[in-house]
């Protein structure tokens, strides 16, 4: 059974059809990349998977670990093991990063019938994750994303990923706005979280992230559809020819 099975998924945003029949299958432990130009529907796909309001599914199906993902509330999807690293992480004033993470982790554990995390254990876990990502400890105490630089926000998403330990992580343009050093650190973090059962769906605009996180499969998305899928070399081909060349060929 595939970890994630997307079948002919169609979705509308504000009455406009954005996803026009996306199909994709992802096995446990795999890393897939979705590449595509602006407006191709990559981020819409990410939001539809995470269950954001305002993204109306008009057709198709998504099965996650055999369950009907689209029937679940966003928090249930998280409890089932889905994580979305957002392109624009949100600020929540007055709520410390650490506190938020603990609430989230305990909510997930509770939904799974597990006990709350012990404070000492949690602290150790978070500190280790912060170290992995080269994040100053001080960022853990600050309010979530408030006054964080673009790079810090993205790193913070990966920190959450490391602590919440999802089965499938969707990274929505995590590389955008990152300088090369930050990109490397984030990629290193992701690579360390790879392996075993955990799968990744990496949404990106550019090939450069894929130099650091080497995917098992690459999908090219244009105008709400996946035009082509292939191995990691597809990303390089795309980089060379550009999306336009691709789209032209498909048409």
């Amino acid at each position: 059974m595939a970890l994630l099975e997307i079948e002919d998924l169609r979705a509308r945003v504000e009455g406009k059809e954005i996803l026009k029949g996306v199909s994709l299958s992802l096995e446990a432990g795999e890393v897939h990349a979705i590449m595509g130009p602006n407006g191709s529907g990559k981020s819409t796909l990410a939001y539809v998977l995470a269950g954001r309001d305002g993204y109306e599914v008009t057709g198709g199906a998504v099965r996650f670990l055999g369950e009907d993902l689209l029937a679940m509330e966003p928090e249930e999807r998280a409890a089932a093991g889905l994580f979305l690293a957002m392109q624009y992480p949100v600020e929540i004033p007055g709520v410390s990063n650490m506190y938020f993470l603990r609430q989230a982790l305990n909510a997930l554990r509770k939904a799974r019938g597990e006990e709350e995390v012990k404070p000492g254990e949690f602290l150790k876990q978070v500190r280790a994750a912060a170290e992995l990502l080269g994040m100053p400890q001080e960022l853990l105490k600050r309010d979530i994303n408030v006054g964080f630089s673009g790079g810090e926000k993205k790193r913070n998403e990966i920190l959450q990923l490391a602590v919440l330990e999802p089965r499938l992580a969707v990274l929505d343009e995590t590389d955008s706005g990152l300088d090369i050093d930050a990109l490397k650190t984030v990629a290193q973090g992701v690579n360390r979280l790879r392996g075993g059962e955990r799968a990744f769906l990496i949404i990106t605009h550019y090939q450069r992230l894929l130099n650091h996180i080497v995917p098992d499969r690459v999908h090219v998305m244009v105008d709400g559809r996946i035009l082509r899928s292939g191995g990691k070399e597809l990303a390089l081909e795309l980089e060379e020819r550009g999306y336009e060349g691709f789209a032209g060929k498909a048409a």
């Binding site: 928090e75 999807r77 998280a78 989230a104 997930l108 919440l164």
Partner: protein, 481 residues
């Protein structure tokens, strides 16, 4: 420390869970207000003649006054003759020890989570328990007495320390101050009294827990706190009431006096019954609270978390008379469903280099209305006075209202008054962000609201911060979706 989310979960259904009644036999005065009723109350309490006369004078003034109409609250006229002004559990006399308390009343406080005992949960807190019109118990009296601290019901204070009561009662809130203060002065039944002697730092939190139980009655308590030179005291009040279809009136007066270099920290967690989802029933909370920073470098700090009541009308204030005295007001006011709150503060700067700080956080949900109303008045002689005011409003949903009405009067050129105000909404982005991490929508609201209020919550004594966080979550249940 227990977290907001976990504590919100502990409570089921989002119902007001303090709404039960206690089956205790009570002695209730017949409804209505006249001089005879006032004499009866005064006599019942064995008061000296001067106090009876003081009450009657207040009553005469009250008769000539009109209910204030300027607040942004709406309610049908109150029939003051339909209210009973005295209700007390039947008991021959006040129990001599904590063990003699009526088991029903004991159970009531246990159910409310504040058992009448000097141990366990409340080991660091001395509590005065006020049940309808009378104080039924006070813990840790002995221990406090050793330090010269007086903590008792105001009735006892009238009897045992008449000189202190007579010297200070009505000096901060005079009987004719306003309609409800005059009413309270005429009919006040019980409340707490605190005196902290010179140079003593009160080693524990002092607390009063007010419980309205009887139907058809009002609660009119009176609290008087005096901090003598160089002393410190932290005081907290909490309150709940049964769920009833009719509205009940709560008109309290609180007076604080801080002498030279004394500090009083006064915290309130107000959780009177707010009425049901359709706005039926609930407490009218019409309260006058004022502190006098009488001495130089004295400090009075009000912190309030207001989640209950159908209507809240209250403006805890500071008169900054002593040079370099400091007044603070930290407030969280939450309104949901049909609740109405018109609350804020007055900072009156009289002394030189006096300073005040106001941080108000209003949260409105449902069809509620939430108004901050504040006055900063800097008098001519208040050389170098400073005020900083910050008013933030948070809206949940689109049928509620938040209003900010600041009045600033500055009569001294060297004074500085700053005012900042913001209004925001809980954004869909924030909610989705939390939910995508596994946090349910209601818990997400509690989390975001707690974050919004953190500056104020941090001012609460540790023992009560958890309770207050919990309340915030509960009072907003059902406010989204």
């Amino acid at each position: 420390m227990s977290s907001a989310i976990e504590t919100v979960r502990e409570v089921t259904g989002g119902e007001y869970k303090w709404g039960f009644t206690t089956p205790v036999e009570e002695e209730t005065a017949p409804p209505g207000l006249n001089e005879d009723i006032i004499r009866m109350i005064s006599k019942k309490k064995g008061e000296p003649d001067w106090l009876t006369a003081w009450r009657l004078e207040a009553y005469r003034r009250w008769q000539a006054m009109e209910e204030p109409k300027w607040a942004k609250v709406h309610y049908p006229p109150i029939d003051f003759q339909a209210i009973s002004y005295f209700a007390a559990p039947k008991q021959k006399e006040r129990p001599k020890s904590l063990d003699d308390i009526d088991p029903e009343i004991r159970r009531t406080y246990e159910k409310l989570g504040i058992p009448i005992r000097e141990q366990e949960i409340l080991a660091g807190v001395a509590v005065d328990y006020v049940f309808d019109s009378v104080s039924v118990a006070t813990t840790f009296k002995q221990k406090l007495e050793e330090l010269g601290i007086i903590f008792c019901s105001i009735s006892e204070a009238v009897r045992d320390h008449p000189e202190l009561v007579r010297k200070y009662l009505g000096t901060v809130v005079p009987p004719g101050d306003n309609f409800y203060a005059a009413l309270n002065s005429a009919v006040f039944t019980d409340g707490s009294f605190v005196y902290v002697p010179k140079g003593v730092r009160c080693p524990m939190e002092l607390s009063t827990y007010f419980r309205i139980n009887a139907a058809g009655t009002g609660q009119f308590e009176r609290t008087l706190i005096i901090a003598d030179e160089g002393s410190y005291v932290s005081y907290l009040e909490g309150c709940t009431a049964p769920m009833r279809d009719e509205n009940q009136l709560h008109a309290a007066v609180v007076e604080l006096i801080a002498l030279d270099e004394a500090e009083i920290k006064y915290s309130t967690v107000q959780n009177w019954y707010p009425g049901d989802k359709d706005g039926k029933g609930g407490i009218y909370n019409f309260v006058t609270k004022r502190g006098l920073c009488k001495g130089r470098r004295s400090k009075i700090s009000w912190t309030q978390v207001e989640t209950g009541s159908a209507i809240t009308w209250k403006y805890p204030s500071c008169i900054l008379q002593g040079e370099e005295s400091v007044g603070e007001f930290y407030s969280v006011a939450v309104t949901n469903n049909h609740q109405q709150a018109d609350t804020g503060t007055k900072m009156v700067h009289i002394g030189k280099r006096t300073r005040s700080r106001i941080v108000s956080k209003g949260i409105a949900a449902g069809r509620s209305n939430n108004t901050y109303r504040g006055l900063v008045k800097i008098m001519r002689g208040a050389e170098g006075a400073r005020n900083y005011t910050q008013c933030d409003s948070l809206l949940i949903g689109d049928r509620c209202g938040a209003h900010t009405v600041p009045y600033i009067e500055v009569r001294n050129r060297s004074a500085v008054a700053e005012h900042e105000a913001t209004t925001s909404k809980i954004s869909d982005d924030q909610l989705f962000y939390c939910r995508s991490r596994g946090i349910s929508e209601e818990d997400a609201v509690a989390l975001i609201v707690n974050g919004f209020c953190r500056e104020v919550m941090d001012e609460l004594p540790m023992e009560f911060a958890v309770e207050a966080r919990k309340l915030l979550g509960i009072s907003l249940e059902g406010s989204v979706g």
